[in-house]
Amino acid sequence: MTKPLLKQPWVLNSAVTVGSVLLCLLLLPGRIPGLELLGVSPHWLLIWVVAWSIKRTMWEGAIAGLVLGLLQDAMTAPHPTHTLSLIVVGVLTARLQKQRYLQEDIVSVALIVFAMAVIAETVLALQISLNQLISADSLYPSLPKIWVYHQRIALSSAILSSLWAPALYYPLNRWWDKYNTPEP
């Protein structure tokens, strides 16, 4: 109670969390040389959602997926929505850790990000296919073309994202560990 507002640990923690999300968002439109493969760059928001959900509950993962999905919709276009794919990623990552299939270390995080990137792109491709099937005047290309394109970007996005996952996961996880330890 005696501490000023700015010194309160939760204020600092929120600032770090929001700041890291902002950093990820600002990295999205850039195509920094060395960070892209076949015109595809790492899916920074997905890495963030995985880093967030890995030690949290399903609900927290889903909320993070919803918020970051809305933010990515803001950066691109509202249809097809990214909220769905990131919510799926958040929930699946949170469940995965509970069952203790994987020990928590850098390599397993990279593996999780690889799988989740493929899943996220698949959810988007499913939405586009559904739109193509349902609406008669859909502007999307035919189904075979969608899925050929999906293969290409899912693979490059998964490879790049898993390689860059530790760069985001390690500092964030260290910070959240440090923040949570002294709590009674």
């Binding site: 600002l26 439109p29 850039g30 809305l70 276009a77 073309k145 970007i153």
Partner: protein
Amino acid sequence: MFALRRWWTRHALKAGMVTLAISSAWLLRATQGAALYEAYHWLTRPLQPGVSREEQFENSYILELQQRIIELENQNLALQTLESYEASLSQPGVRAAVIGRAADHWWQHVILNRGSRQGVAPGHVVTGPGGLVGRVVAVSPSTSKVLLISDPTSRVGAKVSRSRIMGVVRGQSNNRVVMEFFEKSPDVKAGDVIVTSSYSRLFPQDVPIGRIESLDLTKSPAPEATIQLSSPLPILEWVVIHPFNPLESVDEPTWPTPDDEDQPGKNSP
């Protein structure tokens, strides 16, 4: 009631945070991320090509072309007085640098460093070295988002310059686009130049798009041609934004646009 109050005293802060996070994300989505793109613009400002480079670019490349264009325009003026022809792209445009790409792998967007403060508005047409690049779909005070013609949801009414055969150009997420012809046996051959047609509602006519690379005349329901875009979209650095009032109001530019009305068999009456 007591349980509810106890839940509230324990989780008030958390619930507040979650509501705040979701509502602010929703607000950003409603404004199409204008604040984020503004932040991105200021952050990448030192990396954007500066004035000296712009001048260099203009001196070495544009001047030569401008001299040619002046000569052609003079010749053209005489013809325009004869026919009631409207020069749609004669006014000078705004030069802009490409500062970013799509924030997602499924869209083909570029982010430009000129926005509503410089008079750019959604619907304006963007050209670059080589011809047509795309259409502005969203603006913030100092950035604008362009939907490239290589995006799968983009449709451009086009014609073959030599034989005036009409068709529709669709994007394929790479530097080749597909043109569907309206006629069953069109008079086209590889190497023909493709320009935008006068039927296009979202683009001015006679802007170069590219050249026919290969033909598939047996394709059903309509014959198709693969077109190599003359504008190098993946390595674009500079473009020009031309003010243009689309004939069709575009409320949701990235969702099925009304430009495909001249596409056969789909939603034509």
